[in-house]
Symmetry: C2
Subunit: 215 residues, 2 copies
DNA sequence: ACTTGTCCTGTCATGCCGTCAGCTTACCGA
DNA sequence: TCGGTAAGCTGACGGCATGACAGGACAAGT
């Protein structure tokens, strides 16, 4: 199902080819974190990878194509974020811990993939379906788990029926993603990382359970 | 203090010049909403405005410079968002109305300036101080008002002292901005606009007052 | 050594960028 | 009415990234 890695013109890539390809991806990833997406040029990536622009075009149709590749890879890892929610308890003290761990895990993931997520976000916001799909893939894993959590609490009568589970989960996840994407921004605002996390956890807790947390 | 409008090489722009300049800005704005930022070319903007690329460079150092201009304009309007919070009540039924109106006003503003805000967001996320400053200008107006609201409630003993007012306000505003930026996304997710807004308002209410709303 | 298929690069046409000199247009005072 | 002056615009150009191709370099098997 994975299919072999192929060049643009259809050849299958061998050991050496795959190495080159990977090197190009790595260099592109680095470039994205050090300079604006708009200014990333194929020639720079190629130079950095110690090869030529022509080689780049053997493996990717354009810069965007390569970015999608990196993003896809990241999305696979992102699917693991489900673990932060599924099977956790949303009752009593455990709920507070769940909230905290969710926030921690989420922010950490975002910080690790900072640069590429920015580009994915932009692509998605601009309406590009491919980027949108990737963003979905990452966020869905968390959103769906959270949606289930809310529905479960609703079934037990612990949360108002009026609340739209999906909208609530989606909003919270969007918040986490946004804050994560502007972490640097908050510091300039005079908000320290240390106070940010508990507040996010508090909002998550409030949103999901509708109650103040018991710590 | 406003200073006259000047060309890149220092001449003051007259009536005709200002008109051309404005036309270029308008066309750039349109282009941004119809095609990805990365693909916006000076030549396209110029053609659309019925002029030549050289003319564009008379008025703006580059595409980014022009975008900043548009963004600055929008930021002025955005300062008015303060009205959505300052002087409003966060007690009882009034609090729920305040929340709803804040969400409404915010989402509306974002929808109106959709395209340009996307670019500003990207620029800010990439660490460009100029874009960051503009984003601040818009969000600060709301964030500061919200921060004050929380502090006031804390002074009255209605909200826990532990809560960091700034972090809470910042997180909520980031959430609103994020959701607003991906409004289309939510619909694909099976979440309707109609259920989104009340949920956001609920989260805002919960975050600021720490309590469930009285409707 | 020879063949085969993979892999890389030199080169080229194309098109956009950003700049300049120089032409046209509008305004203003005499 | 008529220059003079500054504003406004554009054609043209060097420079650079893009993307396509053909041919050379390389590894592996025979």
């Amino acid at each position: 199902m994975t299919g072999q890695v192929r060049t643009v013109d259809g050849r299958v890539a061998g050991r050496r080819g795959q190495a080159t390809r990977q090197k190009l991806l790595d260099c592109l990833g680095e470039m994205l974190s050090s300079s604006p997406y708009r200014d990333v040029k194929v020639i720079d990536v190629a130079r950095k990878a110690g090869t030529s622009p022509a080689t780049f075009y053997q493996y990717f149709p354009d810069v965007e194509g390569a970015v999608l590749e990196i993003a896809e890879e990241m999305a696979k890892e992102g699917a693991g974020l489900t673990e932060l929610v599924s099977g956790r308890s949303w009752v009593g003290k455990a709920a507070w811990q769940t909230s905290e761990e969710l926030v921690d895990g989420f922010l950490d993931f975002w910080r690790r993939h900072d640069a590429i997520l920015r580009v994915v976000d932009l692509g998605a916001a601009e309406g590009d379906k491919r980027f949108y799909k990737i963003r979905m893939k990452i966020l869905n894993s968390v959103t769906n788990s959270l949606t289930d959590a809310v529905k479960e609490l609703q079934a037990k009568g612990k949360v108002d029926k009026e609340v739209s589970a999906a909208a609530m989960a989606g909003s919270l996840v969007a918040m986490l993603a946004a804050v994560a994407g502007h972490q640097k921004g908050f510091t300039t605002w005079g908000v320290k990382q240390a106070e940010l996390k508990p507040n996010l956890a508090l909002l998550v807790h409030l949103g999901i359970t509708g109650k103040k947390p018991v710590r």
